[in-house]
Symmetry: C2
Subunit: 629 residues, 2 copies
């Protein structure tokens, strides 16, 4: 029984491999991707986008900007990739953005420790003969692998007797390798820098200016689209784990006690596949369908703002062509979340590599702003006016200027500064000591002084306060553009049943690299002219088209346009020259209709703006047999 299941599993894995290899062939053949620096043998984890890939990516980013930035009047910024160390120390990346690495003790070759352990565990688990106890132990190890300390990882390597993959030499103990690309800023070598590992930090450090730009009001969101860099130890999984990639990140700043969202009602009915913490830990371990409205109401998703962005992410991904049946939102387990995080969900898309994290949605509380405020000593807060002024117990510190001057002379200012800088606890302790002992020592810059009775008044007083400064919380939706694009490619790719050579990408018109192919049926001056005119008319409304005047058969030209995922094809034929009509073909159904030349632009425009489906837009039009195929 186990063997049969494993055989079925092998078969499914082989089918996935075959699908992927076929699709990657189609992507490389038409230059959607090119391995970077290919003539020099390439560099692992670096890829170029060729012409159609570049167009798809640019369309995807433009739609992201429209769906998120413009729709909600977010403040978009653009910050450099080169980042000084201090920023990434504050964010924790210098200390913690690491993977565990081991070296072959002889060749010094580098390996990711978790990969080696994972491969060994999977190989052992593939053996149907191991005991149930052993299986449970190995599965538990596999599940916790990502959290292992260097010591635990070392223990696992020792226990499983793992050696270097090819040489079978011993391995060093695992140690953390920082995944940021290091660089030097300026000529002296004195300013350590890194390439940013995410775009978010550029937004956090600008919080003060952005809040000011927004008239001091919360909530508001800032966004950035740009390159991020991760110096992976051993990039694998092809286009999914790369060393340089485009991120699109949003930081939505909000009052920590007011996380409702004014437009939540617009999305409350959006249906999601939720893989909550409980579902993951329960017996069934399956996601369940639920509207975001219900999920927030039941407390499964922490608050409306986080829920709003989860729902908006769902509609975004559906619109660009991700299959909703292969999309789920997985909640982070408690141990996956940082201590400060309130709630985190990943949009995971299923592809031939499994379920891939493509968007992270996290309520990070006030962590990031506090971290940068602490490090930079610049206050990163917003102000709120209370509905009613409040009476608040406040520490009052009032140095006696005359006594200060007399006792400390030129140090008087330093002493005053030191007194004013005391926290409540220290100030009260000082006052108590002066009262008890008749004197107390105070540290000032470059030494210490003795405070005597009467020099300073320190007390708690009740004061009327009309507002306060506070550190906002941040809700962060973070999109990996390249991963989304790759998964979208997989969901869009198919092979026509009648011919294994005919590959198609069923791109949404908003994503397709070219919206329309236009071709004259045969090489004829009149047909060529009319085709050129149609192309120019489409261009006036920004609809990209490609004129194909090669003399090959219409069938071949359709196949070529299918390979690029062009949704519509206009053919100019003999009849066109008589009655000024042309045919339009839809890519996936291969349906053709005949329309007047003047109707081409409004029809294509409506289809490309998703204002109508093909069926709706062509209802009542003359159908054309696909004779020319």
């Amino acid at each position: 029984e186990i063997k049969a299941a494993m055989a079925a599993g092998d078969e499914a894995a082989a089918a996935k491999e075959q699908f992927r290899s076929k699709m990657n062939g189609a992507l490389e053949q038409r230059l959607f991707y090119i391995p970077s620096f290919k003539i020099y043998g390439g560099v692992a984890g670096l890829y170029d986008y060729g012409p159609p890939g570049c167009a798809v990516k640019s369309n995807l980013q433009a739609f992201w900007r429209q769906h998120f930035v413009l729709n909600e009047a977010m403040l978009e910024v653009e910050c450099p990739s080169v980042t000084p160390e201090v920023v990434l120390k504050a964010s924790g990346h210098v200390e913690k953005f690491t993977d565990l690495m081991v070296n072959d003790v002889v060749t010094k070759d580098c390996f990711r420790a978790d990969h080696l352990v994972e491969e060994n565990l999977e190989r052992m688990l593939a053996d149907p003969m191991i005991s149930a106890d052993k299986r449970r132990e190995l599965e538990d190890m596999l599940a916790r692998l990502e959290e292992f300390t260097p010591e635990e990882m070392g223990d696992a390597i020792t226990k499983l007797a793992i050696k270097a993959p090819e040489t079978k030499n011993d391995l060093t103990a695992p140690y953390p390798f920082n995944l940021m690309f290091p660089t030097q800023i300026g000529p002296s070598g004195a300013l350590q820098g890194y390439l940013r590992p995410e775009t978010a930090q550029g937004i956090f450090v600008n919080f003060r200016d952005l809040l000011y730009y927004n008239g001091g009001k919360l909530p508001f969101a800032a966004a950035q689209i740009g390159q991020s860099f991760r110096n992976e130890i051993a990039p694998r999984a092809g286009l999914l784990r790369v060393r340089e990639f485009t991120q699109a990140e949003i930081e939505h700043f909000v009052h920590p006690e007011q996380k409702d969202h004014s437009r939540f009602a617009e999305v409350a009915d959006v249906m999601l596949s939720l893989f909550s913490r409980d579902a993951q830990l329960g017996a069934v371990k399956k996601p369940f369908p639920m509207t975001i409205g219900e999920a927030v109401e039941k407390g499964i998703v922490a608050n409306q703002t986080l829920g709003y962005f989860i729902a908006r992410t769902q509609t975004f991904l559906e619109k660009i062509g991700v299959n909703p049946e292969r999309l789920r939102f997985r909640q982070h387990l408690q141990h996956e979340m940082a201590h400060y995080a309130e709630d985190c969900w990943d949009a995971e898309i299923e592809c031939s590599y499994g379920w891939i994290e493509c968007v992270g949605l996290a309520d990070r509380s006030a962590f990031d702003l506090k971290a940068h405020s602490d490090k930079s000593k610049v206050e990163l807060t917003a102000y709120e006016r209370f509905a009613e002024p409040k009476m608040v117990e406040t520490l009052v510190v009032e140095p006696n200027k005359k006594d200060m001057g007399k006792a400390f002379k030129k140090d008087a200012k330093a002493v005053t500064d030191a007194l004013m800088a005391l926290c409540q606890e220290d100030a009260l302790a000082l006052a108590a000591k002066v009262e008890a002992d008749g004197k107390a020592e105070l540290k000032i810059e470059g030494g210490s002084v003795e405070i005597l009775p009467g020099m300073v008044k320190i007390a708690m007083e009740t004061q009327k306060v009309s507002g306060r400064n506070f550190t906002p919380s941040v809700i962060e939706p973070s999109f990996g553009i390249g991963r989304i694009m790759y998964c979208m490619f997989e969901h869009s790719f198919y092979i026509r049943p009648e011919d294994e050579q005919k590959t198609v990408f069923r791109f949404s018109p908003i994503i397709a690299p070219i919206k329309c192919t236009i071709f004259p049926l045969v090489n004829d001056a009149g047909m060529n002219d009319l085709a050129g005119t149609i192309s120019r008319v489409l261009a006036t409304e920004g609809i990209s088209s490609k004129l194909d005047t090669t003399a090959v058969s219409v069938g071949k030209r359709y196949a070529r346009t299918d390979e690029l995922g062009v949704p519509f094809a206009v053919t100019v034929d003999h009849r066109s020259l008589q009655d000024n009509t042309v045919t339009i073909r839809e890519r996936d159904s291969c349906d053709q209709v005949r329309v007047a030349v003047d109707d081409v632009l409004p029809l294509i425009k409506k289809l490309c703006n998703l204002q109508a489906t093909w069926e709706e837009a062509t209802a009542g039009l003359e159908k054309q047999a696909a004779a020319s195929d």
Copy 2:
């Protein structure tokens, strides 16, 4: 007389300073720019774009893509910034992309040697009492500064007795400092990388694939928009010399003997201000007006393709708002050009810092493809079929297999390979030696062998050849997006004569960060609703607008929209609620017209697409007095 001229010069310089400081104030105040990592004290040469700056930049790039990439069906690619050393060794950047640096011998502080010498020369030249001979000598030194070898620069420092600026310590001898940011790719430290100093190399290394994508046909152009990085020694000139910036580069590949351009007639009448080599070296030293058609015909510009791109650059810059009277094309002097370059022109834009190089247009011949082909050993050529097959003298090398095998046994293949790899000259020399001496030595991998008569036939033979492989030339237009944007800001900025506080950017509608402000005259539910409706209608056609419902005066709201350079403002007033009309105001003339609500979209759309000027579009419409100001 000299003193008066100098006083006038000082005054002009002061006016420029004042203009710049006023404009930079306006740019920073509205967050067009933000010094990067400002809360940590910033990093010289790194700037963020805030919300309106980001929108302007995004519009500028979109228009560039439309004007160049889409208009000419260029092949757009996107390559990584992280680049392995081998690529930049081939391109010459590792060896030559340097500035001369000196250090303070005590503090080790770094300075750009040419900056120090330049400052000293300018200070000395400012002295009206120096002799004419001395002046000539110093001016000559200043003109040649950029070409100085380290030795010449060192001599100049010694001669002028230059010390470190503040400490007055001695300086080290000048030495070259490479301006590329270094990094390490992968964990082992074995793969040296750099951040790319230009986007062009990513295109060159993809030439083979791109040619294939284009059906093997020339000419074609590829393009890339992306970040480039230069680790400047001491960034100054504010936003003009930065360490990370966006480039937009085109590589137009062409047959070296066919540099005519099929669309040259479309641009032949474009009038340019040309600062040719002759004009720079002549007595007058002034640019002259000439059409590009005439300039190519007279041989002032080397060929039609280079001329085509010069003209297209002129129209691009004019359309985005560069003042044509402050734009010129300066030809590189012979000594400024690399030895392989055929002709180079810079589009220079005048701003408060002087004439700034913003676009470089160069005919680089076959240099780049040859360099990468040599280094990678991958042939980067195109094929041309001759109109008629040609009879060509060709080297023929035919080893006698049987003799080879007998004489060299297992080395036979190595000997054959070595023979086939001989260049024509070496092959003929070998044959001559065998004939003369009865034997000749041949080097093979790992040793050498003796070639005897009869072992190989080496001769020149006439063969029929129907085509050939050749290395294409490349014409490279290279745009510095940030510099163009900064100069455009300067040309767009003005202060309303009636009020020094009222600053305006006269952005072209295609560049403006927001196309339209919409505001209700007073805070009224009906007015607010109508304003919201108009905003949504504009959004359906992708026209960005900003609703301003703050209760401040209309005059103040106009001033705010002027500061952002918003070209049009729609006001909803009391009359709107009665007759469904609104007013539209044009930013620069402050003219207002009254139009029906349904006409707002078509009118604004026509204006934003530059299909009509304000005067044309509003002819016949009811003018509205600007009473509400």
